[in-house]
Amino acid sequence: MSNTIITVINVLLIESAVFTLCFINNSRRILSFMVLLLSTHLLFAYFGAEFFGILLLLLFLPIVFVMFMLGNMTRIRKEKYIETRTAVAASLLSGVFAVTVSILYPYGDKKNADGTVITAPDFLAGLYKEHMDLVIVTAVLAFITILATTVVFYDEKKRDRQ
């Protein structure tokens, strides 16, 4: 049963990556990228690390929605499509690859070494105690990112007014 679940998750992961590359249409490509994010979350949840999956979704989904908006803005322009035959061949080949690899090298229900689930409070408490330097660096990085994004948009707004 667990082998089947892991096979399905692996196929989802690989197929969504291939679809992200095969679809030249921006909106569809971003939708398949969302499937990649969700299947990654599913994989992490299966192995007892929902915290990382939720973190991935929380941080990436807003950006992906912005990209979706940008993709829709460019949809009015002429879009290039990949040949259907190539896309179907790539999907089928990657599907066969994913199933074969999952059956040949099953991971089974080998979850945590201790069999425990990683919870956010425990992990963050350990992080705060042992890696305070990294926490400070990340906070500074986040501040610089907010500053940089604001400067980029502010310059753009200023140019529009002129």
């Binding site: 590359l21 971003i30 192995f47 979850k111 945590n112 070494a113 990340t138 948009f153």
Partner: protein, 97 residues
């Protein structure tokens, strides 16, 4: 073993997306994200299965750094689109210069 194979596959797929000249900025950013997600999958699953706290810590900060990088890149792409009204990289030949 299986997750090493999946990581390698996703990394190769990301590289293919980056070098594809038909792709616009969105495609290149999504390809970069695919590569980043491949690394996170490997780090998190290594950390969980081998009880390696350092790998999990690296994955945690890696996810945050990748998301912050994405935010800045998306802002730059938005401004670029407003200015040039196109997202094609091939037309601008950014990668050739």
């Amino acid at each position: 073993m299986i997750f090493d194979i999946i990581t390698i596959f996703l990394l190769i797929a990301g590289i293919c997306g980056i070098v594809n000249r038909n792709f616009n900025f969105i495609g290149v950013i999504l390809s970069l994200d695919i590569m980043a997600i491949a690394v996170f999958i490997n780090l998190v699953l290594t950390g969980i299965t081998q009880n390696d706290k350092e790998a999990l810590t690296l994955a945690f900060f890696g996810i945050i750094a990748a998301a912050l990088l994405n935010a800045v890149t998306t802002a730059i792409v938005y401004v670029y689109f407003n200015k040039k009204e196109t997202m094609d990289i091939a037309e601008e030949t950014v990668r050739d210069t």
